[in-house]
Symmetry: C2
Subunit: 206 residues, 2 copies
Amino acid sequence: MEFSSKLLENAVNEMSQLPGIGKRTALRLVLHLLKQPEDQTHRLANSLNQMRTDINFCSNCHNISDTKLCEICANPNRNEKIVCVVEDIRDVMAIENTSQFRGHYHVLGGKISPMDGIGPGELTIQSLVDKVKEGKIEELIFALSSTMEGDTTNFYIFKQIEPYHITTTTIARGISVGDELEYADEVTLGRSIVNRIPFENSLKST
Amino acid sequence: MEFSSKLLENAVNEMSQLPGIGKRTALRLVLHLLKQPEDQTHRLANSLNQMRTDINFCSNCHNISDTKLCEICANPNRNEKIVCVVEDIRDVMAIENTSQFRGHYHVLGGKISPMDGIGPGELTIQSLVDKVKEGKIEELIFALSSTMEGDTTNFYIFKQIEPYHITTTTIARGISVGDELEYADEVTLGRSIVNRIPFENSLKST
């Protein structure tokens, strides 16, 4: 693409560095900004700059937070003995939306993935193992996505904390509420039968 | 969506103001930036800020340009008597890519669209009419998209310049090169028959 303006070209090039945004989309977004009042662009740019510079991670769970300790970790009504291991802030938000979990989180910041050059050292695994070592955790709930990378990460952490004999669980895999059995994939359906639960228990969930 | 950080929330909100980018996509983009080196975010923000502040429009054709007169208008080898009327810079880039046009452009900045609150006053129509009035233009080629808004805009401009008796043309509508006739829509196919051209002429085009 040849641009008639270096300023425009720079903006499009930087914009198209974002994942899933090609040159054409970037040009469309940038031209949209040019049609809007000038301060919309400045607000966007400043919010990005400020976020990148001042962003802070909770010293306990490593979630994104504006305070040293995030709201969840600072809440005395939450059970710090039960810790849910998740990949990033989106998983925390998704689980918080269910209102079914009153423990703490531990945000890994990714999954072990040698293909992408992410080893255990890039994640916050050591700080999790330290917490287990210090006897601060009674139950660890693995809630990573069930991909090869997720399973690898679960297993790596499991091996690290095995000597300390705490309870480790993983979120239930099964048929989504409201789904038709005939359209479910066989692995999920199989697991939902193997891991069946007492009928009375299903009456409790909201 | 509830965020654990005001900084993150601001960035996501501003990002989701862009067309076609919802809250979830905005969050994905912003989290991506957080994983990249800090200067990538700053380069993006600065390029947007700088573009919005310093952007300049060619004083003749109103295309985006870093100089007072854009490269095309400043080029003495181009025919300023033939002017192609387009909507925005993307159309200029598309036509320039064909290398088939050696005249000037006139960038309207949009199409007349009462639904979106865009009247003739929001576009650069007056400056085009002035150029025609001053006898600077011999042929005007309409190259707006053939939607209701495009046709309305063409007709509005046509009515304004009718008294000055210059040649007005519109780009040919027809079957795309390489397309199968059976899949063409009937309006396009119909027009391609009504506006058929001498066979010898088709041999000239590259």
